[in-house]
Amino acid sequence: MSNVKRYLYTFLLIVTCVIASPLIFKQIWETSKDKAEPAKSNAEIQSSVQTTTTSETTGTSSYEETTTTTAPPEPVLEFQSSSASYFDDALFIGDSRTVGISEYGNLQNADYFCNTGMSVYNLFSANENVKSLGTSTNLEDLLNKNQYGKIYLMLGINELGYDFEATMAKYAETVGFIREKQPDAILYVQANLHVTKSRSDSDAIYSNANIDRFNQRISELADGKEVFYIDINEVFDDGYGNLAAEYTSDNAHVYAKYYVDWSNWLCTKTIVK
């Protein structure tokens, strides 16, 4: 009997491994495929994204600016600079970068509805603590309770692994939902932050080709009257469409101290009606 107990682990291990092996082999197969083809899939996506590169220098900042989008509809209203008080009635919705702005930026007067894994797929079921309410809430309740003057939306990175058209549909649905709930609020659709070149070159999913494709599509939702598109990459890019390596350690998020720069840049991209 004691021998059975002694060898019980080995026995159970082998049995459970045999049972689980099809699932495991499938996973091994999938991940090895992804690893093998980052360059190929990026090239395909790159060719489907039309890019125009324009360089502008702004008078006030020394950041190198490149915009990589098809020209959005000419804004009827122009971006202006505002002080931080502009954000007194602002709501930021987003993923880990928005979390970063909420923790390390200097727009603490705004409301934030964000978490690290936020995506268009889990946005409506998420419950987050919102400062002005002092309690946890979901997005719908939040938009019912509070009236915002401006709403900032930054999602996309966490969705890159999913079907592109399905994600686009969900994103458009999200925009429609926000517009319906808060028709008087200015909606800012934000571009997703690029990843560094090294990350982009080695990752089939989180590549700048994918991010650019996503950003281009969501920029088309901007109408220049109620919905606007802003692109943070003009601040942190390396001149070649990648996040510059000096701004980051993990190749996908900027260092905390740069959220101050991010906040200041947001102040220069405000629409005042």
Binding site: R6, L12, L13, Y104, A256, V260
Partner: protein, 465 residues
């Protein structure tokens, strides 16, 4: 190929075990050699020439040892050749960049090419094993191995190839020729492997997330409390990572009938740094003691010589860990601490163990910090966060950051603390042959596999060695 990967656990390992199990004894070492070369080739996928280099290194050392033994008169020549060959490659791959960098900055005009050289995996480990072998043959501690297959199996043995333990030839010489295989050993080996796997995947990889988070935030932006949490988390990460890997190696070795040496013995229970280095990476300490410290005279030449010998050993130990000045600083600091303990405070700490524990609770994370951060200005920033009295270089501080990260990592801190003590091992000894123990191990195994499945995989910290 990392041990803590689905490919290894579910593809390579089962195939190897079947091939090994079904081969007759006289071919088992050949299976180990071949299987280990295949294992190695997965690791050097992008640079396949390294497999050739590895095989040539094995052959070269095998022949050199025979020449040393055969031609006693010219044995010094053969030894010298062997040492130059082995260390030559190590220096070339590991230290050329470092050397050029420093020469460039020393002689401003020079601009030696800074090509990015990819390190053949395991080179720090197999170099030390090859060198220990030819030295042992030279001083007649062991006879030269007559079978190339046996020698190849010894050096390439995949359990210890990538990250140790550093196995000296005489430890396994007899076992290469005759070792028993039994269901009991396989069973025992699988259990030890499972514990190592859990140690790495469930504790090290998870709590390692905090150091990654802090690095992403940037050292200048973390609060003091978070800074301390960070170094403690790093200390847990490096321990459970390395110890886990060594346990996996020992478990795998056992399945193949080998008894590999213990590499960790609860180092975080030490009361002095001296004791720590008898419990941490034991086989490395033994190597330096056997092949550097003792040949230099050890502690038998008076105080000055002893101190000099310690300095040499610790600078080399630091350098072995990495081709960067912070590692040299780390080694030097350890030397200073060890000398102070040896000649001043050691006895006191050993006598008043609670004080010793407190002393180590501060020293361990602080010394690991110097090990972890390669850039000196970044190191300075981190120190200023740990001890904000010296300078307040914070640009932005999210004041509640430590609460957020404690919430995320709390369980792993607690697990890390508990599993650093001797308690879990005592419990394991009692339950390992019970049904309850089997369930616990099964839970550890599948929890680890789940994490690997979800892609929560981190490269082993010691892999750049």
């Amino acid at each position: 190929m990392v041990f803590s990967s689905l490919e290894f656990v579910f593809l390579f390992l089962p195939f190897f075990m079947i091939a090994y199990g079904f081969s007759p004894f006289k071919y088992k070492n050949a299976v180990i050699f071949l299987g280990s070369l295949i294992f190695y080739s997965f690791g050097v996928f992008s640079t396949p020439i390294y497999i050739l280099l590895f095989a040539i290194t094995i052959l070269f050392n095998f022949l050199i040892a025979q020449l040393i033994e055969e031609f006693r008169k010219s044995r010094r020549l053969w030894l010298a050749l062997g040492l130059v060959f082995n260390f030559g490659w190590l220096v070339f791959f590991k230290y050329t960049g470092f050397i050029f960098e420093n020469v460039n900055s020393l002689f401003g005009g020079l601009s030696l090419p800074m090509k990015e050289i990819i390190l053949p995996i395991g080179i720090s480990f197999y170099t030390f094993q090859n060198v220990s072998y030819i030295l042992d043959v030279y001083r007649k501690k062991t006879a030269a191995e007559t079978s190339f297959i046996n020698y190849g199996a010894y050096i390439s043995m995949f359990p210890q190839l990538i990250a140790g333990p550093i196995v000296t030839y005489d430890t396994v010489a007899k076992q290469l020729r005759s070792r028993s295989h039994s269901l009991k050993k396989i069973n025992e080996g699988l259990k030890i492997f499972t514990i190592g796997l859990g140690s790495k995947v469930l504790i090290a990889n998870q709590i390692g997330g905090l150091w990654t988070d802090i690095s992403s935030i940037g050292f200048e932006s973390i609060s003091t409390r978070l800074a301390w949490m960070g170094v403690v988390a790093y200390s847990f990460q490096i321990y459970f990572d390395f110890c886990g890997y060594s346990l996996m190696a020992i478990g795998l070795g056992k399945i193949m009938g080998f008894a590999l040496p213990q590499n960790f013995d609860h180092p975080y229970t030490s009361v002095t740094m001296t004791e720590f280095w008898r419990r941490w990476h034991i086989t490395l300490g033994s190597w330096f003691r056997e092949y550097v410290y003792i040949p230099l005279g050890g502690n038998r030449g008076g105080t000055k010589t002893t101190v000099r010998n310690l300095l040499v050993v610790w600078l080399l130990t630091g350098l072995w860990h990495g081709a960067s000045w912070n590692f040299v600083l780390w080694g030097f600091l350890l030397f200073v601490i060890l000398v102070i303990e040896k000649f001043a405070i050691g006895k006191f700490l050993n006598k008043f163990r609670p004080v010793g524990h407190l002393y180590m609770i501060f020293l361990i994370p602080l010394t690991w910090l110097i090990f972890a951060v390669t850039d000196f200005s970044q190191l300075g920033i981190y120190f200023s966060r740990l001890f904000p009295v010296f300078a307040d270089k914070a640009t932005v501080v999210f004041k509640e950051d430590y609460i957020k990260y404690w919430d995320i990592y709390r369980n792993f801190f607690i697990a890390g603390a508990i599993f650093s003590t001797k308690l879990p091992q005592m419990i394991y000894k009692k339950i390992k042959n019970t049904a309850f123990g089997a369930i616990v191990l099964l839970a550890i195994f599948w929890a680890s596999v789940y994490c690997m499945y979800k892609g929560m995989n981190d490269p082993f910290l010691y892999f750049r060695f």
